[in-house]
Subunit: 249 residues, 2 copies
């Protein structure tokens, strides 16, 4: 079995935003998709884990793009495992155009938990070791996101379309609700060059979630989600750049 | 060129709802997608129309399913043109499983408009005629939906993730916001067996849209969308049936 798993997708007209650029939530969905295939084909995927009462949990994601996929582009999402710790594993990604040009990278941190106790489990020996690789992923790791004191508040209620098979807000919908704090004006002038998200707790059906947006600078925003007990359930940081000016990649 | 266009898709884990069933909005997206390909390949698609300052507008859709696509299913969406009137054309669809079994049908009504005047244009002679076919589509046409006097009201604001390339609420998001009036409880016991939608007017970014839900019977609901001038912008009717009991197909 190869070290790297690949997923090729043709970007559909309905997968893009008003600029014709693939939505961030769809990009995240494709990353999760190729990650799932990578793990399943190599024997440590969700289907085997579920049989044992375990599951994978995405803890953090950092994603950088120097160019967004557009309608009809053929995009290849690639993933591999960088490292294994006792209770965490780092999985990285590249996003390429058909001609092989890299347009983005992502880093993720995963834990395996017991579905009953929700406690993290030991990852050593479940079969990841043979697939560790030092392929380069030249973007910074997801850092700690500080919760700002001052913010602009909005909210949403978790609805039918928001929930996954566990009846929790699904990962892509976290991304959608976070980016919905911005105006079209912001996106027409600026691109997201780096997006970081830290998943802390689940959001349940019918729960009202507060969305707290803080403008650090014109190009840097922090968006914090809180549940109705005022507990932080998700933190994210968004760095914008003007068209085609990613300073990272 | 064949009369029928086909699109085969493998249902991804993130394309399903909490029951593991493909979401209605994704099903609609796939219908629109194969319709677009059908028209483009045969010379009367959006790309040619746009050059002439024209565009296609979806007016009505009726969709029936006796079974929902599930994760990892291979589904084939097929489309063809049933008839042509001066300012309308009827396009039908079937939804099949890999083994050829039909699990659903859809009927749509389209107009071509001038993008400046928004007036409907004459469809005769734009090249549709050679592709008219009498392939059967054994579901009822979309009927007139009466606006009920009594309803339960909620609302949503049109956000970045909701809008298409024209900065209007995109078709799949109409469907999502309409179905979000129902609880998970409803979907865990009932399936949508027939879904009808009539698009009347556009919804714009930042507009707050009222969602008016009326329970006609336990299995029949009408959901009306109104803009902030209280104008009806969309009407829909949803018929539920208990698991595997579609009376139509």
């Amino acid at each position: 079995m190869e070290i790297v798993e690949k997923l090729q997708v043709a970007v559909q007209p309905f997968e893009v935003d008003f600029r014709g650029k693939m939505t961030m939530s769809l990009i995240v969905n494709n990353l999760l998709n190729v990650a799932g295939t990578h793990a399943n084909r190599r024997g440590f995927g969700i289907s085997r884990l579920n049989e044992e009462g375990h599951t994978w949990v995405l803890s953090r994601l950092a994603l950088e793009l120097k160019e967004f996929p557009k309608t009809d582009d053929n995009i290849v999402f690639e993933t591999w495992v960088e490292s294994l710790m006792r209770t965490f594993t780092l999985r990285n990604f590249s996003i390429k155009k058909e001609d092989g040009n890299v347009i983005g990278y992502a880093r993720t941190i995963w834990a395996m938990i017991d579905t009953t106790t929700r406690k993290p489990l030991n990852l050593v020996g479940i079969g990841i070791e043979p697939y560790l690789t030092d392929i380069e992923c030249p973007i910074e790791k997801a850092g700690k996101i500080a919760v700002p004191d001052k913010y602009e508040e909005s909210s949403f209620t978790v609805k039918y379309s928001d929930v996954d098979i566990n009846q929790h807000l699904n990962s892509a919908k976290y991304v959608e609700h976070i980016l919905d704090v911005f105006t079209l004006h912001k996106f027409s002038k600026w691109n997201i060059q780096r997006f970081e998200i830290e998943f802390i707790d689940e959001c349940f059906f019918d729960e009202t979630i507060k969305v707290c947006k803080t403008e650090i600078t014109e190009t840097e925003f922090v968006v914090i989600l809180k549940n109705n007990q005022d507990k932080v359930v998700c933190k994210s940081k968004i760095l914008f750049s003007e068209e085609n000016k990613n300073h990272y990649i």
